[in-house]
Assembly symmetry: C2
Amino acid sequence: MNPNDLNERKLQILQAIIADFLTTGEPVGSRSLSKSHDMGISPATIRNEMSDLEDMGYLTHPHTSAGRVPSDKAYRLYVDELMDTSELPEEDKQKIRSKLMESRNELDSTIEHAAELLSDMTNLTSFVLMPRKDESKLKYINFLPVDSNTVVLMIVAEDGQVMNRAIRLSVPYTEENLQLMSKVMTHNYRGKSISAVMAMDIIDSFTNDMQSLSGLAKDVVPSFLKTLEKMLNADLVMNGYSNIFSLPEFSTDMQKTQNFLKMLEDKSKLTDVIVNRDKGVMITIGDENSEDMKDLSLITADYRVNGELVGRLGVIGPTRMKYGKVTSVIKYISDNISQTFELKENNDVKDDSNNDGSADEQDS
Amino acid sequence: MNPNDLNERKLQILQAIIADFLTTGEPVGSRSLSKSHDMGISPATIRNEMSDLEDMGYLTHPHTSAGRVPSDKAYRLYVDELMDTSELPEEDKQKIRSKLMESRNELDSTIEHAAELLSDMTNLTSFVLMPRKDESKLKYINFLPVDSNTVVLMIVAEDGQVMNRAIRLSVPYTEENLQLMSKVMTHNYRGKSISAVMAMDIIDSFTNDMQSLSGLAKDVVPSFLKTLEKMLNADLVMNGYSNIFSLPEFSTDMQKTQNFLKMLEDKSKLTDVIVNRDKGVMITIGDENSEDMKDLSLITADYRVNGELVGRLGVIGPTRMKYGKVTSVIKYISDNISQTFELKENNDVKDDSNNDGSADEQDS
DNA sequence: GTTAGCACTCTCAACACATGAGTGCTAACA
DNA sequence: TGTTAGCACTCATGTGTTGAGAGTGCTAAC
């Protein structure tokens, strides 16, 4: 476990094996290794060292007469100690900066671009997790008439999150009803966090408050709760899932490809995994992941807006991935986003309870 | 081309071949056909007829000694004349109804459920196209403060469509500015269709109107236009893309699978194709589609809300699909949605220019 | 017009076989 | 004692062969 178990030469050999394997994907043998990396020792010696490394759990063997393949443990050592975390070439940096610049005043587009960059530059499947904030506070709740039996519920949070949903009513309504309901709900929930509101016994208190509207309320409250829930649920966006076809791991193994894509299709599960990771740059390799991702690796990083952690992005792919390069790209992109959206001034606009987002125009 | 070219027996044989091929996916030979469908003629006779059918373009041969496979032309004939469009079994109908019932007062969730049902019941990849309305009219435009350099732009259309987007400002703003801007823009664009507003020379007229805000306006207008554009762009949601792995067409042919998934990943192109199809139930088979879908078939249908066409749903899969069953499912689902969301009363709520969605509360 | 018979074609799976990359072990070497 | 050359052995992979099976097309008889 401790890299000190390994002498200098073993480390050097291990590193060489990993380097070769990362680029070719083929098990690497003693002979070809001694050719590609001149380290002044014969294949036989390399074989002896490889045998030791295998005993120590850093290498495995697909079958007797194949070369060696790094184990998850080897990748872990590589990531922690050996990998080249050198700077990204200026060309790549430039590409990232200019692409993110395109939409620098819009967080949503920037995030989309980031996901595209990430999958393009790593040739892996990338994902971006949009903000999820249990603690955002509600600002106002609004019902808009659409037609005689449809209204749109709109919920706005202080942090600018807006969520809306069309609701079909089973009872007739009047505009006055809607306005009253908007007013009461805004009054009741403004300034409270989403999770706090969800924990309240809404149906009871609401129908008590507004007996005149109880029919309407019955239609509306379940949708209101669902919409709040949706505001809490982080939105996972993925990109480049067909990149895996260019990797020999997948393009020669239909079963593996199928498993991978099935796994990606279960978004809620994947979202859970991503949400529950550590902050900062986190790399998990092979069996460090849950059972259904045990031959995949995941790299994630966070981005901040105004210094506050709001989202997470990363890639998923086979354990054989170029950890150094991928990590540099992820880091650079997430830093760049955070930097673009850093706080310019420190005084937030104070909340004015009269500004509830209404244009409030009086023309006619 | 005209089915009258084919006598009764040829039609019967063709239908039998298609039926067998649809279930097995294997080329069907004269001998096995005479066994599975007793039609009182010998394999030799069937062979003669098959040969004729091949000359007429209804069948092909993968190679000399293989059985026959229906051509796209045969599928077209099958879909137009031969296929069994019998009612869905009550069990399936029940399943559809109860699933759609779950969320009957919310269009969005209903649509999502519809897509899931569709892919589950057909074992194909389903998609749903959300409304796209060039002609929806704007109702109001609103800017909400988030922090010192971020505001949220919110656009609400009369039909209940709400779109919002966070905008990063490069200049400071005051709440008064935002309200003024909301007011002016709402005044300028209310009641106009999205496409009409996009066609206007917004930047000029806007900065003329509001010289005091020209700095703000420069930041805001491009995002405003982008957001309008986003409102026009139909949103395509897909489901069950990994279903294809259970089909022998794909699970034995990695290249085909890759092409299929790459094609699905280019959402804007696929959206275009779907948007530009005919109304009602439309089936396109193999080479009736564009080059990159020439060995796939597409079936789409529309759903209505309040009698008005608003969206489209369908499936995409190999030309070997159970057209009868799939069509019945799509029809039943789309009819069911349309029915659930049919107009209950006929009088739309008249637009009240004072109700612009503001909760407009006065408490403090 | 229909059918039986037959020669022919082509795919596919099974098998044998050679090749080559790679290992592990042993014995010699520095 | 660590390093290396040599060698026997293993195993995946590719290739060629072969036989079975499914199917066709043609011909001649019914």
